[in-house]
Structure formats: C-alpha cells, structure tokens
Amino acid sequence: MQIRQNALTAVLAMIVMTVLLGIAYPLAITGISQVAFPGNANGQQVKVNGRLVGSKIIGEQFADVVTGKNGKAKLDKNGNPVTTPDPRYFQTRPSATTPPDNAAATTFSNLGPNNLTTEQEIAANIKAYLALEKPYDPGLTAAQVPVDAADSSASGVDPDVSVANARIQAHRIAAVRHVTLRTVDRLIASYTTGRSLGIFGEPGVNVLELNLALNRITGSR
C-alpha cells in the first residue's frame, strides 16, 4: 500500500517537475531573453545589405569552391564541394568538422597526443599555412607558425585566431588588397578582444568582423 502511494507520488512529482522545470522555466527564460537581449539570444547574427553572412561568434570558412574541368564544382568523397582558401580573406583555425567550420554539426578532432595521424594532420596544416602565407612573407618558417594555426580548434567553429596568426596573414592581405601593412595591422588591433575583466581567457582576433571591415574599406572584389 505504501509503495503504491509512493509510486503515485513519484509519477506526479515527475509530471509537476516537467511542467515547472522543463516547460515553464525554459520558456520564461526564452521570453525574457528575446525581449531583453534579442541580439545575443538569437546568436549575434551579422547582416550585410540585409543578407545574413554569419554569426559574430561562430567561425566560418572564407574559401572558394574549386571547379573541375567540366565547369562544375569538384566534390570530395563525402559529396561536399572541394574548397580552397580565398587569399583576399583572413583564414580561421583548422577545423575537424565536415565540411570545415560546420556549425550545424560540431565535433572535436579527437586526435591523440602520441598518434601518427595527429602528426600527419599537424604537418599538413603547417604545409598549407606556409603555402598560403610564405609567398607574401618570405622569411616565414615552420618554426614561426603559431600553434593555433596548425592545431584544430575544439568546437570546430572557433571564431578567433591569435594576434600572432593574424599578423602573419596581414602580409598576404596587404599585398592582395593593395593596402599598407600598417592599415591591416591597425584593423587587427581594433578587432582584437582582450581578456575578460582583464584577467580571464586569452586575447583573440575575430575573423569574420575583421574580414567584413576589410570589405568595407577596400571592397569585396
């Protein structure tokens, strides 16, 4: 008898909690957030000429689709178009998602510390980085590549790069966009987020904001 009473209470308690904590609470938070902080609550969407170009805090690819001999986009083995970094834009960190920087299905690389595949992946990232940057920064060597440019991010959609990484890419941007290195470095400084409260986290350069600022100054072509 006591067990039956207890079981009834247990079921009722779960229902009450589901209504209170699973429906009323999240909907109330959603309502307040949408009124008080609509920009943040909806993901800090960035629009250019009314068109959504991304989220301020989600990394995305700045790349072009490679076209094959038949004039159509080349596809990789997963059926996604093959892309190549667009030299007019700052590049985000390596990403383990498919395709890279896929904010609809984030994932870690899960590459182990003592694994051959990890070494190959990092070596390939260094090679790709040098291939893109060295023509504009001839003194650049593998030893100078910042770790964030060769190691995959955790989320796969890291919106930031290190200041060292951005300063190296600045050489390429300045040459391709025909602006002075000083102008690009100044822009980097203005889109660098410092540590929270001056103490917590690491400084980073927001790649999307930086690229959009470049477009405003020099045009997107």
Partner: protein, 584 residues
C-alpha cells in the same frame, strides 16, 4: 606556464572560497527548516506541489523509506525520459524535424541523465529536438542534482541525529532543493549568460551565405536555460556536441569563469552546510581543505603538461613555446579565447566534480595531462565532487580514515561522538569499492572483446585510454569523455539511418546505474545506522577530525585507495604516452 595563467586560477579559487560559507549556511537553513528570504515567493508554490503530489512533508522517513522514495522517483523519471526521447517525431519545438535515436543509444542516454552523469554518445544539435532538450534533459539536470543533494543531507542528518532513526522526508528535500537552491540560481545565471552572448531561442537553424559566397548552416536552440543547470547541478551534458567549447554555450572568458564557479559552488558550499549542521564549522573547512589540496595538485600538473605540448606537435615541427601574441602549448582541441590556462582549469574543475562538461577536447590532451582527469575520477569524485555525491562519498572516506586512524593509535573510532563500528565500516568500504570495481571490470571486458574494441578511435595506448576513460567516467557518473570512443553511428543529422553500438551502450548503462544507486543505498544505510547511535561526550581520548593531521590522513586514504586500484590501468594508457616520444 605564465603568470597571467596562474592569476586566472588563483582569482577563480578565491571566488569559490568566498562563496562557500555564504551559500553553505544558506543551504543549512533550507535543510533545517529555518525561514529563508525566498520563502515569501516560493512558499505557496512549495505547498501547492506537496498537495498535488499528495505527500505530507512533515512525515519523517527512516532510511529504507527514504531510499524507496528515491528509487521510485528515479524510476518514474527514467520511464518518462525514455518515452520523451523515443517519440521525437511527435514533438512540438522540433523545427529541424528530427526523428528519435535508436533504442540502445536512448537507453544509455536516459540512464546517463538520470544518474547525474550526462555521458553523451550523441551530438545534441544533430540528434535532439528542443522539446527533448528542455522537457526531457533539463528536467533531469534538476532532478538528478536534487537527488544527490538529498542523499548528502540525509547522511548529515544521520550523523547529527540525536533521537530515533528519521533521516527527513525525501519529497520535502527534493522540492526544497529545486525551489530554494537550484531554480533561483538557474534563473539568474541563465539571464546573465544570455547577457554575455549565450543563445536562447526556439527558432530554426540559421542559413547564411558568407562573404565568399559559401553557404552554411548554424545550429541554435534554447541553450542558456540548460547551460546554467548543466553546470550548477554538476551534470555536464552539452546542448551541442562540443559542449562548453562551443561559442554559443561559452562565448567569452567571463562566461567560462561563471560556468566554472557554477560547477564548484554547490559541492564546495555543501562542506560548509555540513559544518553548520554538525555544529562545528571547522569540520566543514577540514573537508574543504583536503579537497583543495587535491584540486591544486591536479590543475598544476594539467596546466604544466598542456603548456609543454605533445610529441605529435614536436614531430610535425611545430614550436610550442610561448611566443609574443600566441599561447604556445598544446592547442589541439582548444579554443583561442580560452588558451591553455583556462582550458586546463575548466577541465580540472569539471573532472574534480562529476561534471561532464568540457571546454576543450580530452582525447587531444597530452599523455600526462590526460592522466589528470583520470586521476580525478579515480578518487571516486570527492575533490568537491558531484552535487551531494561529492560530500557523501567524501564522508564515506572520512569513516574509513577515522577507522584507520583509530586502529593506528589504539582508540575506538568515533565521528563527532558517534562510535563507528563494524556495520558502518562494512557499508563504507563496500560503498567506496563499487565504483572502481565496475570501472575496471567493464574496461577489461571492453578491451578483451571485439564488440568493445569497435568503439575505439585512436590506435595504440590512446585507444586503451579512450576505453578506460569511457567506463571510468560512466562508473563515476562524471560524463566527460575521450570522445573518440563511440556508441552511436549517425550518417546524417536527424537520425535517419543511424544505429547504436549495443555493447558499448548497454555496458555503459549498467555502469551508470549500478555505480550510482548501489553507493546511494550503502550511504543511506550507513546514515540510518548512525542516526540511532548515542553521542558520547568529547574527551581527551577523542581523535579530532578537524585538524591538519586528520586532513593529511584523509588525503592519504583517498590517494591510496585510488592509486592502488587504478595505478595499473593508468600505466597502460597515459603514463606510457607521457614517458615516450614514440608515435603510434
């Protein structure tokens, strides 16, 4: 390592030290029935809930009745959550039209959230509807946390009980925990998180076209309301697959700090609640001190190891020293805005407590760095530990330490005036040994059998580490993962054509449930046994449990039990890797 990095760690811990007595004494008031400020707002809701679930909150329960209520509450929660997750195609708030996960992954997920573990074989944004996340998982994030706290409070009542065998009323404890502790902090915390950039929306995923013309999609959802309780309740289940590394869950250094504070606040405060309720705050601070020593050791090793970098990085020709404007170190699987120090700190905080949240990838930690989460788990999650579970497991160790100390000096073991006898020691020993036993036997089975090895991602010792960590994490109800290890194959978002790996899913489920509820029963039995004992007055012969000698003894017992049971397994995975530059 940098001075700046250490400053972050020190400031974080100073905040915890400041919160502990405040929140701790508040919680002591809640559980001793004293009036609190929130009673004016919450009182009517509280009484309404008692009426609607038909309980008399004044009715004292002995340990068996308390345990029966707890188990029935969990069973009802299990069935309801399973029902919710298996009917996803019928859900409201399902803008992406997701179907349900297969039964085996659902079985694992439901057990995982019921046991305050939040081990996740699935990735939230490709698998679950908003309704599942809110009405399913968020509810259990509250409920499972409340259950843990109730057990700890019942044990304290057993220790201080002066008359009879009552441990309080389970239903009252659950309702009061939710209404007076978890919900108010969550409401405020969620809004603060949104104000800093965590998202909270029920809308469609965003489709965008980037500046180069590439199209992409961004998953969104009601994240903040779940993020706050996932941390506060030491649950850890991420809304997104990459958990607190995802910028929508954890956008800045400040949110990272806030989330770490949320994780540590209740487990740390419960030591002060204990001190208050037993009538000697020093008793609480002694436990806090023992926990602190082990926390500092963990974060130091992890930070140093990650700042050093990995053999794979060095072999690839990458330089990992700190240079101007770059963090250096092992940034594989870490976010730029957190860098090395904040990642090492978050990972230590999350594995000290039973929070499965991560802001960086464990599978990509250095060999020695990866040993720290394993060592944290090996203690049985008592370095602050899960909400409630950290304190009650720690108190089992205290019983053991009192017993060993008593034997060493030839005195009758006592805890706060109550004689510790054969029955309590038996209950404490078995309660402590259940988790290592489950973890090690499961790992052995999973490594020996082909059905277990298909879940492995990395080759060599890292593959062993992944397996060991999977069962260690599930047995300790932690929920963090060396995430290469899988129990769910999902070819496309929305679960069409997906299937689970039954072996990994069910072995994990067994570990989750057995290593959660069996120790709870032993703790409640010990509480019941202690509640009936008479208190003998403190004399010259009493062994103190609040001085440095006892703190050292307590740490010694924890390390010895953890090290002795897990050392061989640690040797095979992380220690091999940290002793060699060889690549596998």
């Amino acid at each position: 390592m940098t001075l700046q990095g250490w400053l972050q760690i020190v400031v974080f811990f100073a905040i915890i030290v400041a919160i502990t007595p405040l929140l701790g004494s508040y919680m002591a008031r809640v559980y001793t029935g004293k009036r609190v400020a929130l009673a004016r707002a919450m009182g009517p809701i509280e009484r309404g809930i008692y009426r609607s679930i038909r309980v008399d909150p004044q009715r004292e329960q002995d340990w068996k009745s308390y345990a029966a209520s707890l188990l029935l509450f969990s069973l009802a929660g299990w069935l309801l959550l399973y029902l919710i997750l298996r009917t996803q195609s019928l859900h409201p708030f399902n803008p992406e039209g997701f179907h349900s996960m297969p039964w085996n992954v659902t079985f694992n997920t439901v057990t995982s959230f019921l046991t305050n573990t939040n081990w996740q074989y699935y990735g939230g944004e490709t698998t679950l509807t908003y309704f599942s996340q809110m009405a399913g998982l968020t509810v259990q994030n509250f409920a499972s946390a409340a259950v843990g706290i109730c057990v700890a409070v019942a044990l304290i009542r057993g220790i201080v009980g002066r008359s009879g065998k009552g441990l309080g009323n389970f239903w009252q404890d659950v309702v009061r925990t939710v209404l007076y502790v978890l919900l108010p902090i969550s409401v405020v915390g969620a809004l603060v998180l949104v104000s800093q950039g965590v998202i909270q929306t029920l809308g469609h995923y965003l489709s965008f076209t980037g500046p180069t013309g590439l199209r992409g999609q961004i998953a969104v959802g009601p994240v903040a309301s779940q993020e706050v309780i996932k941390n506060l309740g030491t649950n850890g289940g991420g809304f997104f697959n990459t958990n607190a590394a995802h910028p929508f869950e954890n956008p800045t250094g400040f949110t990272n700090l806030l989330e770490m504070v949320l994780i540590f606040s209740i487990p740390a405060a419960l030591t002060a609640t204990y001190g208050r309720m037993v009538g000697s705050r020093r008793q609480g601070w002694a436990l806090f001190a023992a926990m602190t020593v082990m926390f500092v050791a963990g974060v130091t090793v992890l930070y140093a190891a990650e700042a050093h970098g990995t053999p794979a990085q060095h072999a690839a020709g990458l330089h990992t020293q700190v240079i101007a404007n770059s963090t250096g170190g092992n940034m594989e699987g870490k976010e730029q805005r957190f860098g090395i120090a904040d990642s090492a700190l978050f990972d230590t905080v999350a594995t000290d407590t039973s929070t499965g949240a991560v802001n960086s990838s464990f599978d990509s930690l250095t060999g020695l760095g990866g040993a720290v989460p394993m060592a944290d788990l090996s203690t049985g999650e008592v370095i602050f530990g899960g909400v409630g579970s950290g304190l009650y497991m720690m108190l089992l160790y205290v019983l053991l330490a009192v017993f060993i100390g008593g034997l060493m000096v030839g005195r009758t073991p006592e805890l706060l005036g109550k004689k510790i006898e054969a029955r309590e020691i038996k209950l404490a020993s078995v309660g402590i040994l259940i988790t290592p036993l489950t973890a090690l036997v499961s790992t052995a089975i999973a490594i020996a059998d082909h059905a277990g090895r298909v879940s492995i991602f990395n080759s060599g010792p890292q593959g062993f580490s992944e397996t060991f960590y999977a069962y260690l994490s599930q047995s300790n109800n932690n929920g963090s993962a060396f995430a290469g290890y899988t129990g769910f194959i999902q070819p496309a978002a929305g679960n069409v054509g997906s299937h689970g790996i039954t072996f990994a899913d069910l072995l994990g489920s067994f570990d989750l449930a057995f290593a959660r509820y069996a120790p709870i029963l032993f703790v409640l039995a010990a509480a019941g046994s202690l509640a009936g004992k008479r208190v003998s007055p403190v004399g010259l012969g009493t062994m103190r449990t609040d001085n440095p000698t006892f703190i050292v003894l307590l740490i010694g017992v924890i390390v010895l039990v953890g090290a002795l049971t897990f050392f061989p397994a640690l040797l095979l995975g992380p220690i091999v890797q940290s002793l060699t530059g060889h690549l596998f």
